[in-house]
C-alpha cells in the first residue's frame, strides 16, 4: 500500500494486459523507465536548489513531464532524431547523452560542448541526434519537418520526434510544420506536452478547441490524446506513432496531457496565477508516483529498491556537479568561434 503522502490516481492495469501493450519484457521496461524518471527528479530537485543558492544561473524543471520524456527516449531508436522544445533534456540522457556532459552545460563551463553559450536547459547532443534548441517557442516544429523530409528522401528507416508545449500550438511554425508534414506525408511524430500552462496563460485561453489534438485533422495528420502522466499509455502511444512513421504511414500529433508541478522556470511565481487547488491536482497525477505506486503494489519493486535507486541518482547528479563546479569558464577567445565556419569572420572582437 502507498502512504497517504503519495496518494495518486492509480494506474488502471493488470499485469496480464502489459505483454500485449509493451512487449514481452514489459516488467524490465517499466523498471528501467522508473529509474530514469527518478534520475530526472533528482536532477530537477538538486538543480532547483542550486539555482536558489546562486550556483547555477537558471533552471527549467521538467517535473511532471518525466513519463513523456523517458518514454520518448526509450521508444525511439538510435537512428531517430529528437527536436526538443523546452523540457526534454531527459530524452537526450535516456538516449545516451552522458549526465556529466549535461551538467557541464548547466554550469555553462568550458567542458560544455557548446561552451556556455546558452542559458541552462538548452543542451545539444549530436551523438544521440538531439538537436540544438533556441528559446523561441515553436520554430523547431518546422525543423522536424525538414529532418523528416531527409529521412524519407534517403529512406534511412528513421523517424523524427518533435517536442513542444501547449503554448506552441499558437505559433506560426506549429501551423507551418504540421501543414508541410501532412502535405509531404513525412515520418514525424509531433509531441505536444500540454502541461496546461504557458507561463501564466492557461490552455483554455490558448485555444478555443477543447482538446489541442483536434487540430491534427486540419492538417491531415493522425492525432491522439494521451494521459502523459501514465507511463504505460505514453510509451505505447509513442511506440505506435513511431512505428506508423517508419512504415511510411505518415505523421502524427500526440497530445500528452501532463500537469506542471513546478513554476514555469526559476524566474516564475505561479502563486500569481494558478488556482489554489492546482498543486494538489497536479500531485495526484504525478507520473513518477503513479508508476511507483503500481510497481510497488504489484511487488515488481520494493521500497528498498526505490530508496536505493533515488540515492544512486542523487549521487550521480552530485558527483557531476562537483566536477562541473571545478571546471573553468569558457575562454574569452571562444566568444568569436563558431559564428561562421571560418574564424576570419567576424572581424570585431574583444580587445580590438
Amino acid at each position: 500500500m502507498t502512504s497517504p503522502a503519495r496518494a495518486v490516481e492509480p494506474l488502471p492495469y493488470e499485469p496480464s494486459d502489459l505483454g500485449e501493450k509493451l512487449g514481452s519484457d514489459w516488467d524490465e521496461l517499466l523498471r528501467r523507465g522508473f529509474r530514469w524518471m527518478l534520475l530526472g527528479r533528482a536532477l530537477d530537485s538538486r538543480m532547483q536548489m542550486l539555482q536558489r543558492q546562486g550556483r547555477v544561473g537558471f533552471y527549467g524543471a521538467a517535473t511532471g513531464n518525466e513519463a513523456v520524456n523517458v518514454a520518448g527516449g526509450l521508444a525511439s531508436r538510435p537512428e531517430d532524431w529528437v527536436i526538443p522544445g523546452l523540457r526534454e533534456q531527459l530524452v537526450a540522457l535516456v538516449r545516451g547523452h552522458p549526465l556529466p556532459t549535461y551538467v557541464h552545460h548547466l554550469f555553462a563551463d568550458s567542458a560544455d560542448p557548446a561552451l556556455g553559450r546558452n542559458m541552462p536547459c538548452h543542451p545539444t547532443a549530436r551523438e544521440v541526434n538531439y538537436v540544438s534548441m533556441s528559446s523561441v517557442v515553436g520554430t523547431q516544429i518546422s525543423h522536424a519537418t525538414g529532418v523528416a523530409y531527409g529521412q524519407k528522401l534517403r529512406r534511412d528507416g528513421g523517424a523524427t520526434l518533435a517536442f513542444f508545449g501547449d503554448g506552441a500550438t499558437s505559433s506560426n511554425d506549429f501551423h507551418a510544420g504540421l501543414n508541410f508534414a501532412g502535405v509531404f506525408d513525412l515520418p514525424v511524430v509531433f509531441c505536444c506536452a500540454n502541461n496546461q500552462w504557458a507561463i501564466s496563460h492557461p490552455v483554455a485561453k490558448q485555444s478555443a478547441v477543447p482538446s489541442l489534438v483536434s487540430k491534427s485533422s486540419a492538417y491531415g495528420v493522425s492525432g491522439r490524446q494521451v494521459d502523459g502522466t501514465d507511463f504505460v499509455e505514453t510509451y505505447q502511444a509513442l511506440s505506435s506513432a513511431l512505428d506508423r512513421a517508419r512504415r511510411g504511414d505518415g505523421p502524427s500529433l500526440l497530445e500528452f496531457v501532463v500537469f506542471r508541478m513546478t513554476p514555469h522556470s526559476s524566474s516564475d511565481d505561479p502563486g500569481r496565477y494558478q488556482p489554489a487547488d492546482w498543486p494538489m491536482r497536479a500531485t495526484r497525477r504525478d507520473p513518477v508516483e503513479r508508476l511507483s505506486a503500481w510497481l510497488l503494489g504489484q511487488g515488481l519493486i520494493s521500497e528498498q529498491d526505490r530508496t536505493s535507486w533515488e540515492a544512486t541518482a542523487d549521487a550521480e547528479v552530485r558527483s557531476a556537479i562537483q566536477v562541473a563546479e571545478a571546471t573553468p569558464a569558457p575562454t574569452p577567445e571562444s566568444l568569436t568561434e563558431d559564428v561562421y565556419a571560418s574564424r576570419s569572420y567576424p572581424r570585431s572582437r574583444p580587445k580590438e
Binding site: R126, V131, S142, T145, G150, D173, F180, V183, F184, V339
Partner: protein
C-alpha cells in the same frame, strides 16, 4: 563560354549543382512545375523530379524552417523566397535559428541553407515587390549576404554559396535579371566571397555599389569620364563578408567616396561603409563620404523613378564631392 542573362546563369548553375551532388535540392513556392515566377528554376523538376525540386505550401517560415531541418539532416537545400519583400514570416527562422545554429550548438549542428531571393526595384512592382532590405540581414552575425551584378558573377557566387559551410542569403537583382547579358563560363569556377570587383579603375573618386546599382554607377562614370573625371567603380559583390581592404585601398587612392544603394538611407549598408571609412580612412579623405540611396519612405509605385538612384544623382554626388575640397 556562352552568352546569357542573370536568370539563365542562375538556372544553369542550379542545374549543374544538382547534377553534381544528389544532396542539393530546391524548394519554394512555384519553383517546380511552374519553374519559378522568374523562371530561375525552369526545367529542374523535369530533370531531377519533384522530390528534389519541391513545390511547397505558401509559407515562408515553413520553407526556411523545413530547409533548416533538411540541412541539419545533411542535405543541401536551396530555398527560394519569391520576393525579398515576402521573407519576413521567415525572419524569425533566419535570425533566431539559421544564423545561430552553429554557434549555439558549439559547432555540432551547423545549418547551411542557401536562400535565393529576388530583390530591388525598377520593375514597377510597388511597395511589396521592390524592396532592398539587405541591411536587416547584414546586422545578424552568422549569415552571409551576397548580391551579384553580372551573369558571370551570379554563376560564380552561387557556386560559392552552395559550397559554403555557412548560411547564405543570395539576393538577385531582378531589375537586371534579363536586361543584362554577358559571357558566362561553362566551368564550375567559383567567385570567392569577400573579394570586391573593380568594375573600372579611376583616380579621382570611388563609387561603391552592388547589385542593380552597379550599372547605374557605371553609367554615371561614363558620363563623368566624358567631362574628364576619372571614376573608380567598385562592385562589393558580398556585403558579408565585406572586402574591407578593397574599399580602403580605393579610398586611399582617390580620397573621395560615394556609396550607392537603392535601400533606404537611414541605417542602410552605406552607413556601415561610411563608418568604416570614418574609422579607418579619415586621413585619406579629401571630402565627406556621400550616399546616393533610396529615400526613408516605403517603396513607391507611381514614383519609382523618383525613389531609385539614377546616374544623374550619382553624377551630382560626385560633383559635390569634387567641389568639397
Amino acid at each position: 563560354m556562352s552568352e546569357m542573362n542573370i536568370v539563365q546563369a542562375i538556372n544553369r548553375t542550379l542545374r549543374d549543382a544538382m547534377k553534381e551532388d544528389p544532396d542539393v535540392l530546391v524548394l519554394g513556392e512555384d519553383v517546380g512545375v511552374n519553374g519559378g515566377v522568374f523562371r530561375a528554376t525552369d526545367g529542374l523538376i523535369r530533370e531531377f523530379g519533384a522530390e528534389r525540386v519541391i513545390d511547397t505550401p505558401l509559407s515562408e517560415t515553413g520553407i526556411i524552417g523545413t530547409a533548416i531541418g533538411m540541412s541539419l539532416y545533411g542535405l543541401k537545400p536551396i530555398a527560394e523566397i519569391q520576393f525579398l519583400d515576402f521573407i519576413y514570416p521567415a525572419f524569425d527562422q533566419i535570425v533566431s535559428e539559421l544564423a545561430k545554429f552553429r554557434y549555439r550548438s558549439g559547432g555540432q549542428y551547423p545549418a547551411h541553407v542557401v536562400i535565393r531571393a529576388p530583390y530591388g526595384g525598377g520593375i514597377k512592382g510597388g511597395i511589396y515587390h521592390s524592396q532592398s532590405t539587405e541591411a536587416y540581414f547584414c546586422h545578424t552575425a552568422g549569415i552571409k549576404v551576397v548580391i551579384p551584378s553580372t551573369p558571370s558573377d551570379a554563376r560564380g557566387l552561387l557556386f560559392s554559396a552552395i559550397a559554403d559551410e555557412d548560411p547564405v542569403l543570395f539576393l538577385e537583382p531582378k531589375r537586371i535579371y534579363r536586361s543584362l547579358t554577358g559571357e558566362v563560363s561553362d566551368s564550375q569556377e567559383k567567385v570567392p566571397f569577400g573579394h570586391a570587383r573593380v568594375v573600372r579603375e579611376g583616380s579621382d573618386v570611388s563609387v561603391f555599389a552592388y547589385g542593380a546599382m552597379v550599372p547605374v554607377a557605371q553609367e554615371a562614370a561614363d558620363a563623368l569620364g566624358r567631362d574628364g573625371v576619372s571614376t573608380e567603380v567598385i562592385d562589393l559583390r558580398t556585403l558579408v563578408p565585406l572586402d574591407e581592404a578593397a574599399v580602403l585601398a580605393s579610398v586611399e587612392k582617390t580620397g573621395r567616396a560615394i556609396i550607392v544603394h537603392e535601400a533606404a538611407r537611414f541605417c542602410g549598408f552605406g552607413a556601415e561603409l561610411s563608418a568604416i571609412l570614418a574609422e579607418k580612412a579619415l586621413y585619406s579623405l579629401k571630402a565627406p563620404v556621400l550616399r546616393v540611396t533610396g529615400y526613408d519612405t516605403p517603396f513607391p509605385y507611381a514614383l519609382e523613378n523618383v525613389y531609385l538612384p539614377n546616374p544623374e544623382r550619382v553624377v551630382r554626388a560626385v560633383r559635390q564631392s569634387l567641389q568639397a575640397g
